[in-house]
């Protein structure tokens, strides 16, 4: 066996590769010699934060990942949940934060591409996409450019690939000035008994490269995503991957045909760290070695080195273990779709990861220690300080002005400017499109899934434990509002530098909050992603554990929307009047303050209230449902009015009750005769439901004792901010 002569690897080169001195020392001990450059590259990719989860794994393991419907939890390309009738949904959310800041169009486009592949590599045709976006302050000089590029990139990739983008969220806050967040979620539909996994099986079987050719784009993308930015962030542009949705569409169709042919033993997409991570993960999971011959890798650039080929993050590629007798059929499928199909290696029983190129062995590594036995850290953390509950928050001087300010605020206004750039109808199965509580996609004659992404970062910053609970609870409520039974979540945890104990404390406590909520609600985590080091020049983002919730509507005819439906309907408040103004939108937008503890989350009440609301929906007792979150009761009622064009007459109400963001609450609209029945049923269950007003045919919001506000004015504020901002008028 010939070995390449070991090059001089200096401490500087090790640092550039993102490995700490102790990690490098560990690597040296593992090898028993100096590594080759290719080996160093492979180790730096597999042991970086993005690929290894070394700072978060210990805590992620505490989350509940099992349940009667869970077919596959975390650890695979995506989570798999049984939805009955032989069907399963396959889904995950993933971040592409660092690349999107550097190159917003391609960064977000390839984020979408990557998550779609994670879903269809398991045998599921993608049927919906969502995205959770966080940008800096609107008046920051880069924000417009980033919003424009990210939305265009998500649309450009998703629309061309052909998946409806039916939900998501957008937030603006100065803490994201140097680090935007682009979290992309994809959901696919598969036969529950035809799921494909990435664990390699069988010794001496062909390892096959599928899809687009390999180039020099995205080299060290994963390493870049595992580090903070400094002022030279733009120089990292060559690390951003470039996407081609047409190739991905062809890859989707080819893969699904391939899977139907029986040729696939194991399959994994090439995402972060490309060929390296896919090969290592497939082998390590299956307790097998992998040997690759890079001379066989289809390249679109000349003279690529082993190092470059192993670390390239060229998109739209998959790796699979092939049933050898079906090689010809498999190859024909890929040629039909104009894609490469190349046998680049084989599985072995040596547990070694061996790379050969031009007659030389460029790497010979222990596969388990590169993959599932990568370092795991128990980083020190400090318990976040608890803030006091804010009291005595003054009423607005001008209620109408306050309401208009809130409904037209960057975080509250209509996101139509965004979602009209996404095809949200393709597939002909969109039962609810963006703008409501959840996106809903039909999956059977009278059956649908409901989808939402939520988190309130300012709450998490103020109290990571309560904020973590709240993120999960809000998805639970949003799914409930459309009549769906929440069944599982995916989590995308975006935090700063975990080597700082206070940041690690945010991560630890947010995970504890998510854990508590998932257990109390019977709502397991089946997949997820962690993005750390979201900091620039030492300033971290708001801790942002984005949650993607999936629910099931077994009777689509019962689906509810948030709009009022008819003049004269009763408006009911479930869960009692609010009073909590700490960390509220009212406090921030009207009074310019970000203070106080966030509203606490009582998980038992969330479950009790949510189950009751779903029951009302299943019995056809309510005509409109919307939960209370940002902006309190005021925002909820206004959104229900704007969605319908009908007005609302509300009883006199304090500003605390109007704007309080107390949790576990809903506004219900129902036929007047139904109101008393609902109130009585609720009372029996110990749930506080009161009538607070009536839907009117006059297009105004009429709070008793206050001047009415016309819906026209509310609509203008609500729909006006985003287009005016993006066109530079503001």
């Amino acid at each position: 066996m010939t070995k390449a002569p070991a090059p001089k690897i200096t401490p500087d080169i090790v640092k550039q590769h993102g490995l700490k001195p102790d990690e490098y020392a560990r690597f040296l001990k593992l090898l028993g010699r100096e590594p080759t450059m290719t080996e160093l590259g492979i180790c730096s990719a597999m042991w970086n934060e993005h690929c290894s989860y070394k700072s978060s794994k210990k805590w992620l393991k505490t989350l509940p990942t099992k349940g009667p419907r869970v077919i596959q939890g975390p650890g695979e390309n995506a989570g798999v949940v049984d939805i009955g009738d032989g069907q399963a949904v396959v889904f995950k959310m993933e971040s592409h934060n660092h690349p999107s800041f550097i190159e917003p169009y391609q960064g977000s486009a390839t984020g979408v591409g990557g998550i779609l592949r994670d879903v269809f590599t398991m045998g599921a045709r993608p049927i919906a996409a969502l995205n959770a976006l966080r940008f800096g302050a609107p008046d920051h000089p880069k924000t417009r450019h980033l919003v424009s590029g990210v939305v265009a990139g998500i649309g450009g990739y998703g629309n061309s690939f052909g998946v409806p983008t039916i939900g998501g969220e957008v937030n603006f806050h100065p803490r994201y000035n140097g680090n935007i967040l682009v979290n992309a979620m994809a959901v696919g539909l598969a036969d529950a008994d035809k799921i494909f996994y990435s664990k390699a099986k069988g010794v001496g079987l062909p390892v096959v490269y599928l899809g687009a050719k390999t180039g020099r784009d995205g080299i060290h993308g994963a390493t870049m995503a595992s580090a903070e930015f400094d002022d030279n962030a733009e120089e990292k542009r060559p690390t951003v991957q470039v996407g081609d949705p047409f190739t991905e569409k062809c890859l989707l169709e080819a893969c699904l045909e391939l899977m139907a042919s029986g040729a696939v033993i194991a399959i994994q997409d090439m995402g972060a760290a490309g060929l390296t991570s896919s090969a290592v993960e497939m082998g390590a999971k299956g307790d097998l070695g992998i040997e690759l011959n890079l001379d066989m890798v289809p390249c679109r650039e000349d003279h690529m080195t082993a190092y470059e080929m192993m670390l390239s993050e060229s998109q739209e590629r998959m790796l699979m273990v092939l049933r050898p007798e079906l090689e010809k059929q498999a190859e024909a499928i890929f040629h039909k779709w104009g894609l490469d199909f190349a046998i680049v290696g084989k599985t072995t029983d040596t547990l070694r990861f061996i790379i050969k190129h031009e007659g030389e062995v460029k790497a010979d590594l222990p596969i388990k220690q590169m993959g599932d036995e990568a370092p795991e850290y128990d980083r020190p953390w400090t318990e976040p300080m608890k803030l006091a509950i804010l009291k005595d928050v003054p009423a607005p001087n001008d209620l109408k002005a306050a309401i208009l300010k809130i409904i037209g605020a960057p975080d509250m206004c209509s996101r139509r400017w965004v979602w009209e750039q996404y095809d949200h109808l393709i597939g002909s199965n969109s039962a609810q499109i963006p703008g409501g509580d959840a996106g809903v996609v039909r999956v059977g004659p009278n059956k649908a899934i409901a989808l939402t992404t939520d988190v309130t970062p300012r709450y998490v910053e103020a109290d990571p434990f309560e904020g973590g609970k709240q993120a999960v609870a809000e998805t639970w409520r949003n799914l409930t509002c459309v009549g769906a039974e929440p069944i599982a979540i995916t989590d995308n945890l975006n935090f700063g530098n975990p080597e700082k104990p206070e940041i690690m404390g945010q991560l630890v406590f947010a995970i504890k909050g998510i854990d508590a909520a998932c257990r109390a609600l019977g709502y397991p985590v089946v997949s997820g992603n962690v993005s750390l080091y979201n900091e620039t020049n030492g300033q971290a983002i708001l801790p942002t554990p984005a949650i993607g919730g999936v629910g099931l509507l077994t009777d689509l005819s019962k689906m509810t929307t948030l709009a009022f439906k008819a003049d004269g309907e009763a408006i009911l408040l479930l869960g009692g009047h609010g009073s909590h103004l700490g960390q509220s939108i009212y406090l921030r937008e009207v009074l310019g303050r970000e203070e106080g503890a966030p509203p606490p989350v009582d998980l038992a009440r969330e479950k009790l209230h949510g189950d009751f609301v779903r029951n009302l929906i299943n019995h056809g007792q309510v005509t409109g449902v919307h939960d209370i979150s940002d902006g309190g009761l005021a925002a909820t009622a206004i959104e229900m009015a704007l969605a319908s064009g009908l007005g609302a007459k509300l009883d006199a109400i304090s500003h605390e009750a109007l704007f309080g963001e107390d949790q576990a609450r809903y506004v219900l609209a129902c036929k007047p005769a139904e109101a008393v029945k609902i109130i009585t049923q609720a009372h029996v269950k110990g749930i506080d439901v009161i009538r607070i007003g009536t839907v009117t045919g006059e297009a105004t919001l009429n709070v008793q004792g206050q001047a009415p506000i016309s819906l026209a004015e509310l609509k203008s504020a609500h729909e006006g901010w985003f287009p005016a901002y993006m066109s530079g008028e503001l």
Binding site: N159, F161, G338, E420, Q421, I426, S428, R442
Partner: protein, 220 residues
Amino acid sequence: MKSAVVVFPGINRETDMMRALEATTGNKPLSVWHTDPELPKVDLVVVPGGFSYGDYLRCGAIAARSPIMADIRAKAAKGLKVLGVCNGFQIVAEAGLLPGALVRNAHLHFVCREVKLAVENNSTFFTNRMKKGAIVSCPVAHGEGNYICNEETLKALEGEGRVVFRYTQGTNPNGAMNDIAGIVNQAGNVIGMMPHPENMIEPLHGKTDCRPLFEGLLAA
């Protein structure tokens, strides 16, 4: 009424279209792959929406030069009905079966929203069940739906009543000349339209305004 739906690499609304055709005409359409040398025996060929060849070069430019197009051209010349929707309209225009071109939306963004269409010509094979001047709701989803043509073509289209659908009530989503959303050829057998009628035919879609368009295929 037998129909076929042609699929090029990158087309992604063929399932929507096939489902709409089957639901409204009772006949399951055949699927034709772009490298097939000829069409099966059908009354109608539909070229559906998507991003054939990734919209490389120009939308529909590469698909228009696919092997199957030769047979579509030949049979269209003999009266075969052809309906091109969205990317399908672009492909059919690039293939020379309809005049004019579809270019980038005037405001430069992809747009997916509901528009209002006035049915200006109700004697085509797709609009024969509609009243002249009827207004239907229909969604669009495109980045290059801006119809342009030279003055001579525009005069001919308008003068001969060959604008089939026109955006109305201020809902033109892309800046198309004269608010043109769909046109028909002189022989009356080839229609191209940018909006997606296949996404507005059942209660799930919110409205069923476009169902009668498909039902008209049976009468033609």
